[in-house]
Amino acid sequence: MLNERPVAEKGEHIIARHLIEDDRIKEEKNLVIDGVDVSGRWNTFIETRVDSEYDRSFFEEIKKTVVGSRINRCWQCGMCTASCTVTPLYRRFNPRAFIYMMQLGNLKELKKYVDVAWRCVGCYKCSQRCPKQVNPAEMMEALALVVKKYFPEELEKKALKIDEDVKKIYEEMILGRGRLDLAKLHTGSMRKMGRSKELLGKKIERDAIFKMIKDGRAFSVLRLGTPPKWHNSKKAIDKYLKNIGTLEESL
């Protein structure tokens, strides 16, 4: 029987390994340089971490959108991050840093934050306090558009697709009926996440549903129908969304 050797981890003998990202470490199985075999522990290479260019075209692209038009105003004081309601929960969500990355076109860095980039809750505290009126809250919308456009496969990978699906349910409800049906939103989202069973399983979830049926909230939408003069409102909202759609496509 062969002695089983432990499988070496990538770059395991690098001191302060935690400071280097996986994809910057290059290791070859059999490496020969100038006729010298350097297989083994001497064939570990670390890609340079020095940024060698700024991509200004990206900045121009953001600037053309309505939500990102004030990107050239930002001077990185940090008032937005300091005001942010999300940052204390997700330290990696940093509006100031995102705006900086967008200014310099540093997509490589931005890519690392795809999973939190959409976390803005739209409280607009940052926009209210920003000394340069950059409107960081809407800049985060620009960021979301960027993430969507440049990192679609990342979005799939991080299971952010569900978020899109839930958004669809929400939109259909609002646009179709002009009312929000919380029960439907809840069950719909759970189904999308493949957690329908939990609705009947855990007591707390079940109770919530029974409660909503009992106090009539679940049927309220059916009973009340659409709001008065909904036709006109819907037309206005559709028109607005169409404009937004063209904006989104223009990016």
């Binding site: 004081c77 940090g78 300091a82 204390p88 000394p131």
Partner: protein, 348 residues
């Protein structure tokens, strides 16, 4: 007959202008809205002036003494200009004082109405006036002038102090887009004074840029190198109450990339300068131009910063923009010279 020149405002610029003119034998009328002369430095009891930390009394006291003792200067305390008319190349001005109303003809006029300290209470995020331990630079200056370095809330020495720069300056949100020029230097000066009084105390300065221009940089270096004042890059967005009677500064450390919420015993807001209500008032009464920042506008900002857009009316000091006392005094002299030339030329 000597020339008659009106000086409006009895701060450093106005006093210096009046003193220079009086030396030339001009009959000067000095109109002051307060019951005392000396302007903001006197009003808020500035104790030491940057950059050499000389007693403010050396400067302001000297100017006041000179003006009060010169027979050529007539000072109208608690007074205001109520009516202003052009009369050929001269000006007919009505001055209202507690002693009555008086109309005089002047050959030329110097406006030196100065500035107002920005009121941090108008920017709610700083919680000024909400917590006793949140004060601004003029409050601290006054406190230190009275020899009091303790916390306003309980009278005990503060263990750590945060100084927040750019309060009411460089901020579209409050409507002041300009840099107030002196607050950085005043703040590092105050940090040094605090450290000299309480060497054990920790002082942190929250900054976006530190603008101790020219030789004022020496003070900034001194604060760091001799007094261990720590600087942190990031603007503070919220001040809330903390445990053990502290106030918490919430901000972002933009260099380390991340939010902080740190309790301090005392917070000093480096509030800037504003044109105040007097600038638009002067603009309206005298018919001179106001700039987009709310200060009086010089005819040519580089060639003649001491002239208004109207012939015969001159400007001096912080009424044309934020500036240090030394600049105000220099401008007082320049305006005095120009007002004298105008008066001489058009005396007939």
């Amino acid at each position: 007959m000597p020339e008659n020149i009106l000086v409006i405002g009895g701060g450093p610029a106005g006093l210096h202008a009046a003193n220079e003119l009086a030396e030339l034998g001009v009959s000067v009328s000095l109109v002051e809205r307060d019951a005392f002369i000396g302007g903001n430095p006197k009003k808020f009891k500035y104790k030491f002036l940057f950059p050499d930390l000389q007693p403010a009394e050396n400067v302001i006291g000297e100017l006041i003494k000179k003006a009060e003792s010169n027979k050529n200067i007539r000072i109208y305390y608690s007074s205001e200009v109520t009516d202003f008319k052009e009369n050929g190349k001269k000006f007919d001005v009505t001055i209202k004082s507690p002693k009555g109303t008086e109309t005089k003809t002047f050959n030329s006029v110097i406006v030196a109405t100065g500035f107002e300290h920005f009121d941090p209470a108008t920017d709610s995020k700083y919680s000024y006036q909400l917590f006793d331990d949140v004060i601004d630079i003029k409050d601290l200056e006054k406190m230190m002038g009275e020899g009091n370095f303790n916390r306003p809330s309980n009278g005990k020495p503060p263990r750590n102090v945060a100084i927040i720069l750019c309060v009411g300056s460089r901020d579209r949100h409050v409507g002041n887009q300009y840099c107030s020029r002196v607050c950085c230097t005043v703040s590092v000066k105050q940090a040094i004074e605090l450290k000299e009084h309480f060497p054990e105390m920790e002082v942190y300065i929250f900054y976006m840029d530190i603008r101790t221009y020219g030789f004022y940089e020496d003070l900034y270096w001194k604060a760091m190198e001799e007094h261990d004042v720590q600087i942190v890059k990031g603007r503070v967005a919220e001040i809330t109450s903390g445990p053990d009677n502290t106030v918490i500064c919430k901000g972002e450390d933009t260099l380390l990339r991340g939010p902080f919420e740190i309790p301090f015993d005392m917070v000093v807001l480096a509030s800037g300068m504003e044109g105040g209500p007097q600038s638009p008032e002067m603009s309206k009464k005298l018919g001179i131009e106001l700039d987009e920042h709310g200060f009086l506008k010089p005819a040519n900002i580089t060639l003649s910063p001491f002239k208004s857009n109207k012939d015969g009316i001159f400007l001096a000091g912080a009424c044309t923009g934020p500036k240090a006392i030394v600049d105000a005094i220099v401008e007082g002299g320049a305006a005095a010279m120009n007002a004298y030339i105008y008066a001489k030329k058009n005396a007939q």
